[in-house]
């Protein structure tokens, strides 16, 4: 069994008067892939924002590697070893691919190592290397997602928060992104993933977390969650992703 790298302890937060996270409590295992599933509006993305310091908590605590990181800014979370790849398109369209990548290392203390890091990262992503000096807007949707992932990896994070990376990607590209996540797990990186494509995501995950109305409904191994009839009915077969 692996130990816990991230804990949420009765986290309450939301937007304005609206409460979205309703005492969310969970514990994420180190070096594993955990997939968060739940209906639309359950607060999955909001949970990531709260972890990464983009949403002030009304109460509760967040612990990363045993340290209290409640109220940390995004910059402090980066320094602690967490990166966040939000939902949607998050590149800087008018900067080159290389400069987009470089911006992933703004928080790097010693900037002298930057060119080497960028070069090494480009080696790992040949598609990006090919287009390194083109404007990022010329990349396809899938390539842009790869760029975001590569950019997030530039600081060698211990934990990656990645929100619906497969949206809008071709099945081949989804395979590619999931492959990268599995490879990262192989290197000991912890991955917390939100996916609509729950069936496929749970297949490669170690653990699953079901969120509903801002609360943890089920926390279990991915295999058990896949086998759970409630889940199949609620989320896996619930219209969006019919079981074939």
């Amino acid at each position: 069994m692996s130990d816990s790298i991230l804990q949420l302890d009765a986290v309450v937060g939301g937007y304005g008067k609206m409460t979205i996270l309703n005492g969310t409590t969970t514990s994420i295992r180190r070096g594993r892939i955990t997939t968060v599933i739940g209906p639309n509006g359950a607060g999955k993305s909001t949970m990531f924002k709260a972890i990464f310091g983009l949403l002030p908590l009304r109460s509760g605590r967040i612990l990363f590697e045993g340290r209290d990181v409640t109220g940390h800014t995004p910059r402090m979370m980066l320094d602690a070893g967490v990166c966040y790849v939000p939902q949607g398109r998050n590149i800087f369209p008018e900067l080159s691919v290389r400069h987009n990548l470089e911006l992933g290392a703004v928080a790097l203390k010693d900037q002298s190592g930057l060119p080497d890091r960028v070069a090494a990262m480009l080696k790992g992503f040949p598609i990006l290397a090919e287009k390194a000096d083109s404007q990022a807007s010329t990349l396809s949707g899938g390539q842009q997602k790869l760029l975001e992932v590569a950019r997030g990896l530039l600081l060698d994070p211990k934990l990656i928060l990645i929100d619906e990376p497969s949206i809008g990607l071709s099945p081949l590209m989804v395979q590619e992104v999931f492959g990268i996540l599995k490879a990262l797990r192989g290197k000991g990186v912890t991955i917390l993933l939100i996916e609509q494509n729950a069936k496929q995501a749970l297949q490669m995950s170690d653990y699953g977390l079901v969120l509903e109305l801002g609360q943890t409904r089920i926390e279990d191994t991915a295999a058990n969650i896949r086998a759970d009839p409630r889940i199949a009915q609620l989320f896996l077969g619930g219209g969006l992703q019919p079981i074939r």
Binding site: L78, F92, P93, L95, E102
Partner: protein
């Protein structure tokens, strides 16, 4: 032919000055959703800072210009952001817009009451002489103005594209949320854009005041020209603001010569209407597209 060339050069010179103001306008909009309706007054005022330093405090011209730029950076850049923009933006974009309109009025009346209601002569940076190039008479000071303005724009472009800080500013402009997620000190980058805007406005002021004379009411036309240049350029790109500024400057000079000086003021407005009708994304602009 020679006359047209002269008019175009003169137009490019004023256009490059409009471009300076329009670039600042665009940068503020991009990084902080600030539409600064006092931008014209920001270009009017620095000349008065220089006049005060020169005529009241007895400083030499070059030092007065430097003082004007520094005071502008402090007041029209930093103080403007901290005292007007930050508190107002919390209330929304509309209160901020109204505040900048009020600030514009305040600066205009302030310059009138504090200094003078009369147009003030302002020294030329370059000698006001004609030179003959291939038989065409060109104004040395206009060419000088054009060159300085273009050099400032080129320096800014180099800064934005070649330095890490410049690219962090671009990132902040293109997607502030993502910039923050990557650890870019977004607040500091926004402050830099206010400082750059003030410095650009001060440069524009020092370059245009010899031509238009320094007058408290200059902001009206300058603000409109900069606003139209920014819209014509697409409002979301520095390159667009440059092109827009030059275009407005040239058309406005040609119209003054061939149609009537009386219509000069309305040229930017006509251009504005045409662009809004036929090319709302501007010359080089692309449609806004943002995630998160």
């Amino acid at each position: 032919m020679a006359e047209i060339l002269q008019l175009v050069i003169a137009g490019l010179a004023t256009g490059a000055i409009y471009a300076l103001a329009a670039i600042g306008f665009t940068l503020l909009w991009q990084t902080s959703q600030t539409i600064n309706f006092a931008q014209g007054e920001f270009v009017m005022l620095p000349a008065f800072f220089a006049l005060v330093a020169m005529n009241w405090l007895g400083g030499p011209f070059w030092l007065s210009c430097l003082v004007a730029i520094l005071v502008s950076i402090l007041l029209l850049g930093m103080v403007f952001k901290l005292i007007v923009v930050d508190p107002m933006l919390k209330q929304g974009v509309l209160p901020l817009v109204i505040s900048t309109i009020a600030l514009g009025l305040l600066l205009r009346e302030g310059a009138k009451d504090f200094y003078s209601a009369e147009a003030q002569p302002f020294p030329y940076i370059f000698p006001d002489r004609q030179i003959s190039v291939l038989g065409v008479q060109l104004s040395l000071s206009q060419i000088g103005v054009l060159l300085i303005a273009l050099a400032v724009i080129a320096a800014l472009q180099l800064f934005l594209s070649r330095t890490r800080t410049g690219r962090q500013m671009q990132a902040t402009a293109q997607n502030p949320t993502v910039a923050r997620i990557l650890g870019v000190p977004v607040e500091r980058m926004i402050m830099y854009t206010f400082i750059i805007n003030a410095a650009l406005a001060a440069m524009a002021s020092l370059l245009i005041s010899p031509i238009y004379l320094a007058k408290f009411s200059n902001g009206e036309h300058l603000g409109l020209a900069a606003f139209v240049a920014a819209i014509v350029g697409g409002f979301n790109q520095v390159r667009g603001a440059i092109a827009g500024g030059l275009l407005v400057g040239v058309i406005d000079n040609l119209a003054a010569a061939y149609v009537s000086t009386g219509y000069r003021q309305s040229v930017p407005l006509i251009l504005l209407v045409l662009f809004i009708l036929f090319r709302p994304q501007g010359l080089l602009g692309r449609r806004e597209e943002r995630a998160v």
